[in-house]
């Protein structure tokens, strides 16, 4: 039986108005799950609740069986979060940044240093490892942040719009990195507004709207739910998000 990496049950959050209302979502271990939805659908809020950055009003979140609300530190230990605005220090170099992140996750230096070297080389940052991040392009910053997210070998990697503002080459590098992480056994949950990415990369796709999960499944399953096997994901997405609830 496949292990569940992320289980969200009855999750609700209200700011000025309800943002998430009784969301249920399961992501199996080792899959790449793309969460889609129109602007303001609650994707980022959902992910921030999973990572412990926003407290839900109701519901539960389990990460590999760990109750993330009751034992947040244990849940955080196996999770990595990569928001669309990289969590970087401009005055630190990539090497220094990775050293700091490894310290936060208490990875012994003997393990962290070789892993950092591997990541920096793999993400083509090795030559820039001693240059402060303030000089980097957005794409390079995103890659440094991705290295930071991967250095502690998370079992669950959560990314919010990781391809925003990246050029084609950088976007390809990030997509390869995600697939590589999944191949290495990690589970990846990613939000994106680039439907082609979800179409090509994701094992399963969830469409969120009005605070709930509107539809979920593989691309074929979503097409079937939308009513035509010939549809692109874009057609299916529009059909499903515009359909009366």
């Amino acid at each position: 039986m496949t292990e569940t990496a992320l289980r969200i049950s009855g999750l609700s959050k209200r700011f000025d108005k309800p943002v998430i209302t009784g969301l249920d979502l399961d992501v199996a271990a080792g899959e790449l799950y793309a969460l889609l939805g129109p602007n303001g659908a609650g994707k980022t809020t959902t992910l921030r609740m999973v990572t412990g950055l926003t407290r839900p009003d109701a519901g539960s979140i389990h990460i590999f069986g760990i109750d993330a609300l009751a034992d947040p530190l244990a849940a955080k230990a196996v999770t990595a979060w990569l928001p669309d605005e990289p969590m970087l220090y401009d005055k630190l170099s990539p090497s220094e940044y990775l050293g700091f992140v490894a310290g936060l996750w208490r990875i012994p230096p003997a393990e962290a240093a070789p892993e950092a070297e591997r990541l920096l080389k793999w993400l083509e940052l090795w030559e820039s490892r001693d240059t402060r991040c303030e000089t980097f392009s957005r794409g390079m910053k995103q890659k440094v942040a991705l290295a930071g997210a991967l250095i502690h070998r998370p079992r669950l990697l959560i990314l919010d719009e990781p391809l925003t503002g990246l050029d084609a080459a950088m976007a390809r590098a990030v997509k390869d990195a995600l697939r590589e992480a999944v191949n290495a056994g990690a589970t990846v949950v990613v939000t994106t507004h680039i439907l082609e990415v979800a179409e090509r990369l994701a094992d399963r796709i969830g469409i969120i709207g009005n605070g709930t999960l509107l539809a979920e499944g593989t691309l074929e399953e979503l097409r079937a739910k939308a009513g035509s096997d010939e549809m692109t994901l874009e057609d299916a997405f529009i059909a499903l998000t515009r359909a009366p609830q």
């Binding site: 530190l73 220090y89 170099s93 990775l98 050293g99 992140v101 490894a102 070297e117 030559e127 303030e134």
Partner: protein, 482 residues
């Protein structure tokens, strides 16, 4: 659009100046509570000014060698502070202002933009001093001493000259040291200028006793009097202008306007070049070398300390703060080591030690705790918030420790037990200052470091009070033990 701007030729010098003044006033707007506190303080100032004016109504205020020399000393002190502010504002204009891209991409002469910016810098500089001086000067001038209407003219001349000087220094530093070093160098030069008269006055009174016990202006005044400077001739112009001598005021204002025109002419081109340099990537692309194992440390504190230390030493605003504190610490330390001639005042030194350490730890703690650039990274890490705060406080204290030990070492020469008590109180005062920052933390970008106190008045007040409390204890203990 501003009604005044509507009447002016768009893109012209006057139009740009009004735009700059509009920005300067909007940048000063604070929350409603701070605005009310400011207005109440201003009203209080004006009230005291009116009472002073009534008291001085029939007292003649006349020029003379002592008055003119005093005004020269005060003008030198003001110019030093104003140039510091102008330098920092010039740095802000070149590095942080978001509008130069727009202005320089418009079909306007860079020289016109530079002159308008200079007016904005001068206005920003003069307003702080005008708020301090004019609530007294204007009521006194109205109630029987009209000659004092020369003071606003003197202030305007000094601020315009300081703005030119500040910008010239900044452009020179960018040209000489390059864009990256210019930010830090500018801050350090600003700190040195701010403390220049203070340091100078210490040197001037160095032969006499107790360098740290006299005010900077007084020492300077005594030195000027002893050397008969400021009593007459050109050096008496500030004093004469302040008393309403129209020729002196016209000469000073005219001189400042000439300097303004000359600065605009001389730096019209280099201003654009400096801005272009300043907008270049600020960090050197360091050649990557060797392994990276040195960046990985075992334990949360070690990782946190390494990160905070790097961020602090790479922060130009912090360089300014530290240099300024060291400048003020230097004369006290000199006096402590007995170079001032008289016996060191141990309790006063103990008090100063705690006060300085408290301020430093408070500043470091603000940068580490409130000025966190990636709070979400710490929030998603598997560590409790309290652990992070403890590590940050320990980092702040460790970084302030070398500065906090200077005065206790001096005290130890006369009273080892007093030194121990001072170290203990310095540590307690520093820790309390750090804890206050943690308790009243208000997340803010690190670049707002200079304005942090306006963000948390309670924290600022409590830090001063706690430092004074522990400083008092240290002074008492040193007095009893020494």
């Amino acid at each position: 659009m501003n009604p005044l701007m509507q009447r002016l030729r768009p893109g012209g010098f006057a139009w740009l100046v009004v735009h700059e003044l509009r920005l300067a006033t909007r940048n000063r707007r604070r929350r409603a509570r701070s605005l009310w506190i400011g207005l109440i303080l201003l009203a209080l100032f004006v009230g005291i000014g009116i009472m002073t004016a009534i008291a001085l109504r029939h007292v003649p205020i006349e020029g003379g060698p002592a008055f003119y020399t005093g005004m020269l000393a005060a003008s030198a002190l003001l110019t030093s502070f104003m140039t510091t502010q102008a330098l920092l504002r010039s740095q802000h204009t070149l590095y942080e202002s978001g509008d130069l891209d727009l202005l320089l991409s418009a079909p306007l002469e860079p020289r016109t933009i530079l002159r308008a910016k200079l007016c904005g810098i001068a206005a920003g500089v003069v307003i702080n001093f005008a708020l301090l001086v004019l609530p007294f000067a204007i009521p006194i001038a109205i109630l029987g001493h009209p000659g004092l209407f020369g003071i606003p003219a003197l202030l305007a001349a000094l601020s315009l000259a300081s703005a030119c000087l500040g910008l010239a220094i900044m452009i020179f530093v960018v040209a000489l040291a390059g864009p990256r070093a210019a930010r830090t160098l500018g801050q350090i030069i600003g700190a040195l200028l701010g403390g220049a008269v203070f340091l100078l006055s210490q040197l001037m009174s160095g032969g006499g006793g107790g360098g740290g016990r006299r005010s900077a202006a007084m020492s300077l005044f005594n030195w000027l009097m002893a050397h008969r400077i400021g009593a007459g001739g050109i050096s008496a112009l500030p004093g004469r202008a302040a008393l309403g001598d129209p020729l002196a005021a016209a000469l000073l204002l005219g001189g400042a306007i000439l300097l303004f025109a000359a600065t605009g002419y001389a730096f019209g081109r280099s201003f654009l070049a400096s801005y272009q340099k300043a907008r270049m990537r600020l960090s050197r692309g360091r050649t990557a070398k060797g392994a990276i194992t040195g960046h990985f440390r075992a334990g949360l504190f070690a990782a946190m300390f390494a990160k905070e230390w790097r961020l602090l030493v790479r922060d130009p605003a912090l360089a300014f703060q530290i240099v300024l504190r060291l400048i003020y610490l230097a004369p006290i330390a000199l006096a402590a080591f007995g170079r001032g001639g008289g016996p060191p005042l141990l309790p006063a030194l103990a008090f100063a030690s705690v006060l300085i350490a408290g301020q430093l730890v408070g500043s470091f703690a603000w940068l580490a705790v409130s000025g966190e650039d990636a709070p979400d990274l710490l929030n998603v890490a598997p560590i409790a918030r309290r652990q992070v705060e403890r590590a940050k406080l320990a980092s702040a204290m460790a970084m302030a420790a070398p500065f906090g030990l200077v005065l206790p070492v001096a005290i130890a020469l006369s009273s080892p037990l007093g030194a121990l008590a001072t170290v203990a109180m310095t540590a307690a005062g520093g820790a309390t200052a750090g804890l206050i920052e943690i308790k009243w933390q208000k997340p803010a970008p690190r670049k707002t470091f200079r304005q942090r106190r306006s963000g948390s008045i309670v924290a600022g007040l409590l830090t001063v009070l706690s430092s004074a409390f522990f400083g008092g204890l240290a002074a008492l203990a040193t007095w009893m033990l020494g």
